[in-house]
């Protein structure tokens, strides 16, 4: 039987220091971080079939090009990428699982001179932002790309390269976070979607359907992805997130051929090749569309012509959790102190920060300095008209 049921049957009271709503990469990272700090933590999750960005993403740990127009985000991303090796090591220590972090650098491949120019300008603008700490990057011409990735096709015109970029086995990461969380005494409640949050006397009661026993917690963290939009207002938090569809294909296993990660083509540690990258505003429609797949396939073949022969064994569409301006939202409710929210679309890259930097903040209840101020929800407030 499952851990939560066993714990409750053993007579444990259903009361916790922190209840994290959401068992995806964001929720599980925060929950683990808090459990490691000795808190009594519950992690609540939906059922087997749900909108799970954590199961459908492209698993990149990506720094380059993040944070145009939002310097703090660029810094936060970089901080998380630099914390990633520590995270991977801690998870391996806790679980014996290797999440196969590869951070030898990533290339954003470009298929025409126009694309090269556009990309170079975008990164330059990013670096010129006030307060920006420039990261290492290089614009590579075709010859330089071919030296790093010997199998690129003739259409590849160049790339932007960042040595901090990489990827990880995101599914194993999720599993490792769950194992590590429970190892530190965390209690996991699958199939426990939260219908209603009831703030009561400075604490919180979480109500689910099906007469499931109410869960009580002194603090809560909303890490429910797209569900945060509905839950936030229950504790005085405005969390404008919307679904943004991405479609991915994965091939059969093939011998390793990519020493570096490419932003739309990555070879997993198992040997399969994943192909992305699309952005569609499709509301909650997570169905696959062949037109988008055709374009993704075409570009991937231009990058690596031999991919044309590989068999695609699966396709899926997943819904990114996209905040209104694209940047993470971290905040604590003013009307219900103790209720926090953490949501973003880069759940893999930011796992380092979520596991190592956010838990101390949640524990203390106040953000150190003003670092998280820029990520608060007040940036969405419409100014009052006088």
């Amino acid at each position: 039987m499952m851990a939560a049921e066993a714990a409750i049957q053993a007579g444990a009271r259903n009361e916790y220091d922190v209840a994290v709503i959401g068992g995806g990469l964001v929720g599980a990272a925060i929950a683990w971080g808090l459990a490691r700090r000795g808190r009594k933590v519950a992690m609540l999750d939906e059922g087997d079939v749900a909108y799970r960005a954590s199961r459908g993403n492209f698993a990149l740990v990506w720094v380059q090009s993040k944070g145009a127009g939002f310097t703090e985000y660029a810094l936060w991303t970089r901080h998380s990428a630099e914390a990633w090796p520590q995270l991977a090591g801690a998870l391996r220590d806790d679980t014996g699982l290797d999440v196969c972090l590869q951070q030898s650098g990533g290339l954003h491949l470009l298929l025409s001179e126009r694309e090269v120019e556009s990309r170079a300008n975008a990164i330059k603008r990013l670096h010129n932002q006030p307060g920006m700490v420039p990261f290492d990057y290089e614009m590579l011409d075709r010859a330089a790309v071919a030296r790093m990735l010997p199998h690129v096709g003739p259409d590849v015109a160049g790339a932007s390269f960042c040595p901090l970029d990489g990827h990880v086995n995101a599914l194993r990461l999720l599993r490792a976070l769950h194992v590590a969380f429970q190892k530190h005494g965390g209690i996991y409640f699958p199939e426990r979607p939260v219908e209603r949050i009831e703030p009561r006397g400075g604490e919180f009661r979480l109500h689910s359907a099906d007469n499931a026993q109410t869960i009580g917690a002194q603090k809560i963290v909303l890490a429910a992805g797209l569900g945060n939009a509905r839950l936030g207002p229950m504790v005085g938090l405005n969390v404008p997130v919307r679904p943004q569809r991405g479609q991915i294909m994965v091939t059969e296993r093939t011998a390793p051929f990519m020493p570096y990660v490419v932003h739309t083509v990555r070879q997993t540690d198992e040997g399969s090749v994943m192909i992305a990258d699309s952005v569609e505003e499709a509301r909650f429609d997570a169905s696959v569309g062949s037109a988008v797949l055709a374009v993704e396939a075409d570009r991937a073949i231009k990058m690596f012509p031999h991919l044309a022969k590989l068999n695609v064994v699966r396709c899926w569409a997943a819904l990114r959790v996209m905040p209104k301006d694209g940047y993470p939202i971290y905040d604590q409710s003013k009307t219900c102190p103790g209720a926090f929210v953490a949501t973003c679309h880069s759940g893999v890259t930011l796992t380092g920060a979520h596991a190592l930097a956010l838990p101390p903040w949640i524990d203390a209840g106040v953000p150190p300095g003003n670092t998280f101020g820029a990520f608060a929800t007040r940036r969405f407030d419409v100014p009052a008209i006088n």
Partner: protein, 86 residues
């Protein structure tokens, strides 16, 4: 007709699937798994199990049960993951 199995000339019958031809020759295994390297061979013969993968005429990971033998066909054990260019 003659087919080549891992480079060795073998007889085959017109109309047989590659899987049937291999089994008729006593080859129960046709590949080593890309996951663990374990030897595997045809299992369902109807195209749904993907255990019968072989290299046919230089193309890797072909289902032997879905391909019909041709004179001169080159069939090779599919060793683990598909190699670059195959």
């Amino acid at each position: 007709m003659t087919i080549f199995v891992d480079g060795v000339a073998m007889p085959a019958r017109d109309g047989d699937s590659v899987a049937a031809a291999l089994l008729a020759l006593g080859h129960a295994a046709c590949r080593t798994s890309a996951v663990s390297g374990a030897p595997r061979g045809p299992y369902c013969l109807m195209g749904v199990c993907f255990d019968c993968l072989v290299m046919i005429d230089g193309v890797a990971n072909r289902q032997a049960c879905m391909a019909v033998v041709r004179d001169g066909m080159r069939i090779e054990t599919q060793r683990g993951k598909r190699e670059y260019g195959t």
